[in-house]
Symmetry: C3
Subunit: 139 residues, 3 copies
Amino acid sequence: MVTYRKELWFHLNKRRGLVNITEAISEAVTESGIKEGLVLANAMNITASVFINSVEEGLHEDFEKWLEELAPELPYERYRHNTEKEKNADAHLKRTIMGRETVVAITGGKLDLGPWEQIFYYEFDGLRDKRVLIKIIGS
Amino acid sequence: MVTYRKELWFHLNKRRGLVNITEAISEAVTESGIKEGLVLANAMNITASVFINSVEEGLHEDFEKWLEELAPELPYERYRHNTEKEKNADAHLKRTIMGRETVVAITGGKLDLGPWEQIFYYEFDGLRDKRVLIKIIGS
Amino acid sequence: MVTYRKELWFHLNKRRGLVNITEAISEAVTESGIKEGLVLANAMNITASVFINSVEEGLHEDFEKWLEELAPELPYERYRHNTEKEKNADAHLKRTIMGRETVVAITGGKLDLGPWEQIFYYEFDGLRDKRVLIKIIGS
């Protein structure tokens, strides 16, 4: 059994945004040399998500609008978590809807994804350095 | 370390519906010969879910009504993703609530589920062939 | 490859509540002797969650209020699942938002968590014995 660990770092210059990390995770799988196994990719911060959906800008706008309806950023006083200094309660809730992590199969040395499956990092409280952890286990 | 891979195929004759796949995943575990490990089961399409809850028809109706409130199918113009041809934005959002995948423990050669835990495929945009991936890793 | 299995038992004296289980899972990792691998922690009941977020009481109150908005407990007749005897449909829906399980990396014999990541059990229908399953796989 072999394991492999890698971190991806992000610094978005806005509060919210999506980054396609499929290629970066695919590279980590190649680096690991693992042919059959599982890869875990998780946000290491609690105001960001790793999730799987399609590369379609209209859909990404729909996600943005929908999450804002389900867990509005404003007014800040809506949430007990928000203080003078911290104003990201909505980011904790939005990330809960989208999920912390995904587990993807590795088959024949490649990510075993469906035809439209792409892996995304979703930032809900940017403007600072944040990480995704990739942990691969297999043989 | 041993791995095993299997696909389950679905073709629902309606837009939305639930299929209990516990038995099919259980069979895959038996076929794998793996006694201790993990099984990943994930939708390979981005408008379907694999999730765990109970076999109770009333509850399944509650899920249906609740998801329709949280991410309504209509009006189609509500979503940027919807076009003349494609009208499944709600399916992408509903599947996000229910989740793409589940990871279940294997103990003593069997799915290590709680007493009421059953694994379901939830289709949100049917009337075509779609797949679930089962990947098992263990010894 | 080594695997390790452990159950955590809970009995909350109220309908809903959060329990920080990071330390208990960390102990299970130590007991397993596994240095590199993955740990799965999942609710074995379908009206409870295992999820990762921060230790912040204000935020936990925000989760409580938010989940009650997204999936209200009352009126009980709102849900088909509720009967004379069973009144926990909202618990099934709330747990769906928060998730059944989490998968966490193990690196150097420790849980590989981000600086604010803590693992919680979220009970949505307490006043009875319920379990979390920990399954560890690695070397």
